[in-house]
Symmetry: C2
Subunit: 323 residues, 2 copies
């Protein structure tokens, strides 16, 4: 049975197709739990560890779905994108697996670990300034020059369908979830959660977690229309980009609430996770736990899936070294 | 059928009993793999992640076996030990779960993270100088004063039987292993591997990995008798203690070879694991990978279990920060 398509033309069939397409190129990442964090929050937290994912982040799901869905003729011209980091290296990984060129525009301030990984996978980097406007201008030039297929980091339905495979796995791995929480930047992961959960587990609440200093999604959600900041400053470097029409569709229709955390709360949650769970994860991934610790009344007594989105960190410049 | 007992009076039945006794208090830790590290080493590596273990280290297996094996009368007087860190906090954790006192003697130079964890579990710390002689002198005083049951960090058959449950799990989790490698300090984990493997998988090779700067086990192995250093200096702070008679029995009879790595090789392998596998682990845990990278001809084409022994690291003072 073909599911009902929604207003952006997507259905759960897109998720199933994506999952079949990308399965050979991704990990089914494990779920970790922490009795300490359960006790401290009063909730049962199930951490979906996409930091252990291929290329170190969930973004390889959407990137692989786009790359391996191209016709041979389109694939020949390669793919291109702009990205704060993980989408860039995920697209480079996927393009490398298919053996096609990949051009990425990255802010010059992106973590060195991410730039090195892009190059390691065979991607070509063009640097821009760390603002949405500079990024889009530099990208337009690269795109025109190469004629490559543009795989937007989150506003592309192929990418959203790919990211949606993460919450589909989570539902298979954990019974009886009451809520799922993920960090929100451009909204690709959260939109994927919305696409999956609204179709196959509509009673599960969907929370998005955002840095207070890059709270454009929060303000958009409250205002009822997209509000975009040009160059927010936050330690959660993966979450600086604004919502776009496709992700706004999912966020505005299916998200239960958006919660925010301060920079210090994010760093505290990050170091707490490293210390207690012994996993390397990016500052962005700590935003959900920071908001859970800040709003215990929302989560107490619930079974909560927490998406750990990626693990590509510059180990030489950890945020608590300067705090 | 009761297995044959060996020269130190232990049999595989001790491991089965220990496993049944401690199962409620420990995690069955996961196995992680890395296609990058497999490609780089030419081996298939299966990392047994005891850094995700309760109390952050495999040592909780042996400590729990000792604590929960005590009669009620003996348990009342509590337990005591000396330890460079992980045994101290593991024994504190186990004692806390049973609700009995725990006194530990720790070098004043032990990582703050470990001292804080001991106190968090309710253990009482007495500090000593960072040498075997000082540790043993201070402990004698504490032991006499408290009358507690002495749970040696590795020379105690109850502890060795507990550590042996780790390789028993590993064998259940990974088929067709050719070799197992673990770091060696006092030899508790390696002895546990010997006890399990020599009984139920005698064809599996057993390698021990040691810092070149604390290579007393290596020199003992080559000389055919125990050689003890008093205060070796290495970044692998868990591996500074010497072999004792019970662990020497297992090491001298069942270990295939002992391999060593320099400080820089250990730090390089540590940062490589953090970057590629996204796990927080102690310097000691990097010694096996360092020796595999150094001796590819030994491991190429083999399926190798690698014990990641613990994850209790001072995140504020990571070794590559000073290198």
């Amino acid at each position: 049975m073909k599911d009902m398509m929604d207003a952006v033309g997507m259905s759960f069939d897109d998720v199933i197709e994506a999952h079949d397409r990308i399965a050979p190129f991704i990990h089914r990442t494990p779920i970790l739990t922490s009795s300490y964090l359960n006790e401290r929050t009063g909730a049962e937290l199930f951490f979906k560890c996409e930091n252990f994912q291929k290329a170190g982040a969930f973004k390889v799901r959407g990137a692989s779905n786009a790359v391996f869905g191209l016709s041979d003729a389109d694939a020949e011209r390669g793919v291109a994108t702009h990205s704060s980091g993980n989408h860039a290296l995920s697209l480079s990984y996927a393009a490398g697996r298919r053996g096609i060129p990949c051009n990425v525009v990255m802010p010059r301030t992106a973590p060195e670990a991410k730039k090195a990984a892009v190059r390691g996978y065979g991607g070509t980097i063009t640097e821009c300034e760390p603002s949405t406007s500079s990024r889009e201008a530099v990208f337009a030039e690269v795109h025109e020059r190469t004629g490559a297929d543009f795989v937007h980091p989150y506003n592309d339905p192929r990418v959203i369908a790919g990211q949606a495979t993460c919450s589909r796995e989570l539902l298979n791995q954990v019974d009886g979830l009451d809520a799922v929480i993920a960090p929100i930047g451009g909204g690709g992961m959260v939109s994927g959660c919305c696409l999956t959960l609204s179709n196959i587990a509509p009673s599960v609440e969907i929370y998005a977690a955002e840095p207070e200093q890059a709270d454009d999604a929060y303000r958009s959600f409250k205002a009822g229309h997209i509000i975009a900041d040009d160059a927010p400053v936050t330690v959660a470097d993966g979450l600086k980009v604004p919502l776009k029409e496709n992700t706004w569709h999912f966020v505005s229709n299916h998200v239960t609430d958006i919660l925010t955390a301060t920079e210090q709360e994010i760093i505290d949650a990050m170091i707490l996770t490293w210390k207690r769970m012994k996993i390397v994860m990016e500052p962005s991934c700590a935003v959900p736990l920071a908001t859970i610790l800040k709003n215990p009344e929302i989560f107490r007594g619930k079974r909560v899936g927490v998406i750990i989105t990626g693990g590509n960190v510059d180990l030489e410049t950890l945020p608590w070294m300067n705090s």
